[in-house]
């Protein structure tokens, strides 16, 4: 038998409780997904389809009402230290410097002993923030704060990385630069990544595989492999003929789910 996938969800079901006697909201319906180790799997879908909710379930922040989450073949309940999570929102501690923020996961796991200072420093250097160790988050630009969050994520040394629209709130240029940086770093490390985005171009350009979720209740509607060679550069990828084909195919399926509200 081949090795168990790094992350698998089986028959995931989730409802959000009714508000003011309304019907309960069916958020996830029989979601099945297996992500093999080392794969960068991107997940697209219309807004409100439950993409982020699925990440929250995998991270252990929300218990599923049906089905299960398996991490390397073992059932996972609650917070799992092998999983790192980069939220859509800025979740840096505002009262801690960039350096202290990057060191936080090491302290949380009790690994903040000798050598941790070096690794926090080298991680900040890796994301291009050498010299900004003592800066507070408010003194950094939006792009720089994302870089600190990326360094903090890596400090945890997760085997599985969940990313919820990490570059969603950035301007176009900063987004492009951070996507390039992210690819450069990921292509060296090759962790398993579940990357949620509403940007189809980003999903195809970064991913080994694009998974499409339907409008609520969220189900897996489509699954495409992206065979473009690595290392990739965003600018080259966009001109690749496979990129255009995939974009048209996935968009054809995605636009059926997007309703004008």
């Amino acid at each position: 038998m081949s090795a168990a996938p790094a992350v698998a969800v089986k028959n995931l079901e989730l409802y959000f409780p009714a508000r003011d006697h309304g019907p309960a909201l069916h958020v996830l319906e029989r979601v099945d997904l297996a992500v093999p180790e080392g794969q960068l799997c991107t997940i697209v879908g219309p807004s409100g389809c439950g993409k982020s909710t699925m990440l929250n379930v995998i991270a252990g922040l929300l218990p599923p009402m049906g089905g299960e989450v398996l991490v390397f073949g073992e059932p996972s309940h609650g917070i799992n230290r092998r999983i790192g999570y980069m939220f859509q929102k800025d979740t840096l501690l505002p009262w801690a410097s960039a350096f202290q923020n990057v060191r936080l996961p090491l302290e949380a796991l009790g690994r903040a002993g000798a050598g941790s200072g070096d690794s926090a420093h080298s991680l900040l250097q890796l994301v291009g923030l050498r010299g900004f160790e003592r800066h507070y988050p408010r003194e950094l630009s939006g792009g720089m704060r994302k870089r600190v969050q990326l360094a903090r994520l890596l400090a945890q040394e997760p085997e599985v990385v969940l990313m919820d629209e990490p570059f969603g709130a950035l301007d176009a240029q900063t987004k492009l630069i951070l996507q390039e940086e992210f690819l450069r770093i990921w292509e060296q490390r090759r962790q398993t990544v579940l990357f949620v985005t509403h940007d189809l171009q980003e999903a195809i350009a970064l991913g080994d595989r694009v998974v499409l979720m339907s409008a609520r209740p969220g189900r897996i509607k489509g699954d495409w492999e992206v065979n473009m060679p690595r290392p990739r550069h965003i600018t080259d990828v966009i001109q690749n003929s496979q990129f255009t084909q995939l974009f048209n195919a996935i968009w054809g399926s995605l636009r059926e789910e997007v309703t004008l509200l």
Binding site: A59, G60, L61, I79, R81, I83, G84, Y85, F87, K89, T91, L93, P94, W95, A96, L104, P105, E107, A108, L109, Y136, P137, R138, E139, Q156
Partner: protein, 280 residues
């Protein structure tokens, strides 16, 4: 037409003197000059009212007499220092106790929701009422010494700290908590790294309000029954119809309160430097 620099305005003899002076001043210096003008105006009016015979010295004293009394109390005889020390001692001990107990109680109520639900009306009742009304009770129980002043000063500050700490815990950003949770941080780690630091601004603003309350509480209790303290001095002076003594004591209190408030602002600015410029 070109725009003149401050220097050009200041040196141009054709510009009216008032505008030339204004151009020479930095905004900070200008503010202090304006305040000086206001002070001279207030003191002048006060002195003028007495000299014009509109009110006698018996009712409102006179700036010169108040100044002479301050020199006597602060320098010549120096008797004010004993009273001030007594008042500040009550405030320091009472406020410290109130802060510590207030923070701990706020954290306890935020942690045990049932307890909060049970005690909420009692806390709000004590918080909303004029707490100085409890002063006679504390004097009855603890006597006219410093103990009753300490307890009242602490009691009035306690509720502000309790309510602010509670609000601070309830306003912790849940996304920050989740982020640190997913790092594998324990409950204690979360409290230490997320909950307490995000309460700090709340606790500091509670402390600044609590400081003003404590000072009021201590002075009020001294006015009711005491053997020394600035409050006692005010009450004794008024009993002797010594308006000058009352004004001199009040001035000392005002200056001390302003100084303490400024000190707190500086401390806040330093502790909250991660927030950048804060309007206080």
């Amino acid at each position: 037409m070109s725009i003149a620099t401050r220097d050009e305005v200041a040196e141009n003899p054709e510009v009216p003197l008032r505008r030339r002076v204004a151009a020479r001043l930095t905004p900070g210096a200008e503010a202090w000059l304006l305040r000086l003008v206001a002070a001279v105006a207030i003191i002048g009016t006060w002195e003028g009212i007495v000299r014009a015979g509109l009110l006698t010295e018996f009712w409102i004293s006179r700036p010169g007499m108040v100044a002479a009394r301050l020199v006597d109390w602060l320098i010549v005889r120096g008797s004010m220092w004993d009273h001030l020390a007594a008042t500040l001692q009550a405030v320091a001990i009472g406020l410290s106790g109130g802060i510590v107990l207030g923070i701990v109680s706020g954290l306890v109520l935020a942690k045990w929701q049932r307890l909060q639900v049970a005690l909420d009306p009692f806390i709000m009742g004590l918080y909303s009422m004029p707490r100085a009304a409890l002063a006679p009770l504390f004097i009855m129980w603890l006597g006219i010494g410093i103990e009753s002043k300490i307890v009242l000063a602490g009691f009035v500050a306690f509720f502000v700290l309790l309510i602010n700490t509670y609000a601070g815990v309830k306003n912790v950003d849940p996304d920050l908590l989740n982020a640190v949770r997913t790092m594998g941080g324990s409950g204690t780690f979360l409290v230490h790294k997320v909950v307490l630091p995000s309460c700090v601004p709340w606790i500091l603003s509670g402390t600044r309000i609590g400081l003003a309350f404590s000072l009021t509480g201590a002075v009020f209790a001294e006015m009711l029954a005491a053997q020394k303290g600035v409050g006692w001095l005010i009450s004794r002076s008024s009993g002797l119809f010594d308006t000058t003594g009352v004004f001199a004591s009040i001035l000392v209190l005002a200056v001390v309160a302003m100084g303490l408030n400024e000190g707190m602002k500086k401390l806040e600015r330093w502790l909250l430097r991660w927030q950048g410029e804060v309007v206080l």
